[in-house]
Amino acid sequence: MYWTDDRAWSPFAELRSLQRDMNRLFDGNDGGTAMSRFPALNVWGNGENVVVTAELPGIDAADLDINVVNNQLTIKGERKKDKPAEDAVCHRCERGAGAFVRTVSLPFAVESEKVSAGYDKGVLTITLPRNEATKPKRIEINAS
């Protein structure tokens, strides 16, 4: 057994790796706490709509359950185990499976009837229009 060059232990590579880990920890993108907030969500919005996206590869759209109550959005789902063949032996199993649920508060109450969701290329996109009643109204001043 001998070490080839590209696998040789390098103290500098170790230090760089440690630095990256520390940066990640302080950036808040820490894998440890991510467990409680799976799936990771990106939220987009303007005065009219809010759009929530999540990366959820390999899920059957029928296994996703999206609920809205006022300004609370709940995403429930399950990724099932997907063994490719009965006789296949797994050598490396990194892709997890299981159920998840996450609830987030939206910046405003939404029209729950008009919420639409799409699932494409493993990315879930939910579009939530703002509730008409909560939209800001401009008040005209009557000049006397």
Partner: protein
């Protein structure tokens, strides 16, 4: 080892060569299965279009690259980010005895499946024992 449910596997490539595109490089979470006649590689690649996937087999190194499409809803501002988009890249060493001409790949719901069929000489052969009379 941390649980990598999201893209916390982000890393710089091991080599000193810099990527020519900006953006983070992620290691896609991958399952590798072996069947009697093939090796199956299954990677999570959400948000990657079929024509943005690049699979190369050079000698015995299988390299998988996928660029994520940037999904930006029109007329909206980003209010909160928990994940970023970038490039998925990963290299595996595979055994030599792969039938290169029959490699197949498909992308479905953000999951990439690559089937590497074993060459004839690598498949198991049952050896009959002749009972001497």
């Amino acid at each position: 080892m941390k649980e990598n449910k999201d893209k916390s596997l982000e890393r710089q490539p091991e080599s000193n060569a810099e990527p020519t595109r900006e953006g983070p490089v992620y290691v896609p979470t991958t399952d590798i299965y072996e069947k009697e006649d093939a090796i199956l590689v299954r990677c999570d690649m959400p948000g990657v279009e079929q024509d943005e996937v690049d699979i190369t087999l050079d000698n015995n190194e299988l390299t998988i690259t996928g660029r994520q499409a940037v999904a930006e809803p029109e007329g909206c501002d980003l209010l909160s980010t928990e994940y970023d988009t970038g490039t998925f890249q990963r290299t595996f060493k595979v055994p030599q005895l792969i039938d290169r001409d029959k490699i197949q790949a498909k992308l479905h719901n953000g999951v990439l499946d690559i089937e590497l069929p074993k060459a004839e000489q690598a498949k198991p052969h049952k050896i009959e024992i002749v009972t001497g009379g």
